[in-house]
Amino acid sequence: MDGLISVLTDNFDEWLAGFWVTLRIVVIAFAIAMVVGTLVAAFRIAPNKLLQRLGGIYVETFRNIPLLVLLFISFAGFRRAGLDIGPWEAGIASLGLYTAAYVAEALRSGVFSVSKGQIEAALSLGYTYGQAMRRVVFPQAFRTVISPLGSLIIAMIKNSAIIGVSLLALDDLLKTARVISARGFQTDEAFFWAAMGYLTLTGLATFTIRVLEKRYAIHR
């Protein structure tokens, strides 16, 4: 038991740094995923057939390729091709673009969940298309999108661990656990605290989503 506590307290600064790296990867990658995902979703619901196809190709490509392969392509692949890309940029871009495909799908089904009559009613009340979207469709779509986006954040927290152990070797939570366990042969203890770190992050995300869901639930 003493060993368990001391593994945490003796290396506290390292743990904190690892936790911080994981958090930073998730936050930045999620921002990228939201921006790109919204763009792709807009492509997919655009009235133009070509744009729809392009959006579809993006989603099918990034959803069906393993994240680890993306990391290899974006880091080792581009480097060998002569592009000077650092592990941070490659890792965050890969995770962000990978999740963007899922974000696009979530947003698209969110917009489609608002019935057509809503837009028609808003337009007939004299709203412009932009106003109807902003005041009627988006607030309703937002509600249905909260829980899928929440699951995506949780998935990102888990997927961020792949960046740490792959050849990019960012010093995230899992990498820290590996370093500390190798140093003192305290594998169980080190991995226990890393697990606590990940469960704290996913637990916090789950809790926040529940609160948001409750707040924006439709009261009938």
Partner: protein, 262 residues
């Protein structure tokens, strides 16, 4: 762009055994995926039933188990198992595995990878199955009980056949994720597609032609895309056939499940 499409950079594919070597690695991934899929579905159903059991202690224990393994990174689980699994287990596995099994699976290291994949995916699948079963109208179970069926009979004959049908789309997305996640086992030093890719891109492996990293892993990514697209096509086919056969029209989808599988 010119680098990407330069024929010199694709020459490695047709040089000697390079392509076959990558493909062999990819087959190992598929084999691991199939074994892990079957085991995860079985364990996942058992976990879901335990979670829904009318006896509280069992339900709470199963729920905690599911929540822990669902929320840990898969690569974390695989790495931990590979470091701490007792040395006797892989030996026992190597003794127990039948000789006709593919060569890639003969090594004892595969054990940690498969256990890790099953621990994680069975927890996710259990949650999907539970939601599928819970989405069913309560009246179904009550009616079955009122007709004199026992809890087990009602589960087997009424609740499970309907509940499980609803979770087919979400399950398939999770199986696609599992298929992608087999690349993670490369950290346990199993000779699968990622390893083979790195070997090929290492110094002049076959035929003195240097294989560029970018092109090798683009090809590997393409292989995954093809197989995963086939998987999702297959599930759509199944759904249509099933709804025709049972004449219930479109199977109702369970909301908020598809997103579980990432």
């Amino acid at each position: 762009m010119t680098y990407l499409f330069d024929p010199d950079n694709w020459e490695w594919v047709i040089t000697q055994n390079n392509f076959r070597f990558i493909l062999e690695g990819f087959l190992v991934n598929l084999e691991i995926a199939i074994i892990a899929m079957v085991l995860s579905l079985i364990v996942g159903l058992a976990l879901a039933l335990a979670r829904l059991a009318p006896w509280k202690p069992v339900s709470i224990a199963a729920g905690t188990w599911i929540d822990v393994f669902r929320n840990l990174p898969l690569i974390f689980i695989i790495l931990y198992l590979s470091l701490t699994i007792p040395g006797a287990w892989p030996d026992a596995y190597e003794d127990a595995i039948p000789g006709w099994f593919p060569e890639g699976l003969q090594s004892g290291r595969v054990l940690a990878a498969i256990i890790g994949l099953v621990l994680y995916n069975s927890a996710v699948l259990a949650e999907i199955m539970r939601a599928g079963i819970l989405s069913l109208d309560r009246g179904q179970n009550e009616a079955a009980r009122a007709l004199g069926m026992s809890y087990r009979q009602s589960m087997r004959r009424v609740v499970l056949p309907q509940g499980l049908r609803r979770m087919v789309p979400a399950t398939v997305s999770q199986l696609i994720t599992l298929n992608k996640d087999t690349t993670l086992v490369s950290i346990v030093a199993i000779q699968e597609v990622m390893r083979h890719g790195r070997i090929v891109t290492g110094a002049n492996f076959f035929g003195g032609v240097q294989a560029p990293v970018l092109q090798v892993f683009l090809l590997i990514g393409f292989m995954f895309i093809v197989v995963n697209l086939l998987l999702s096509r297959l599930s759509r086919r199944l759904e249509i056939r099933e709804s025709k056969r049972t004449a219930v029209g479109r199977v109702k989808r369970v909301r908020g499940l598809e997103e579980q599988a990432i």
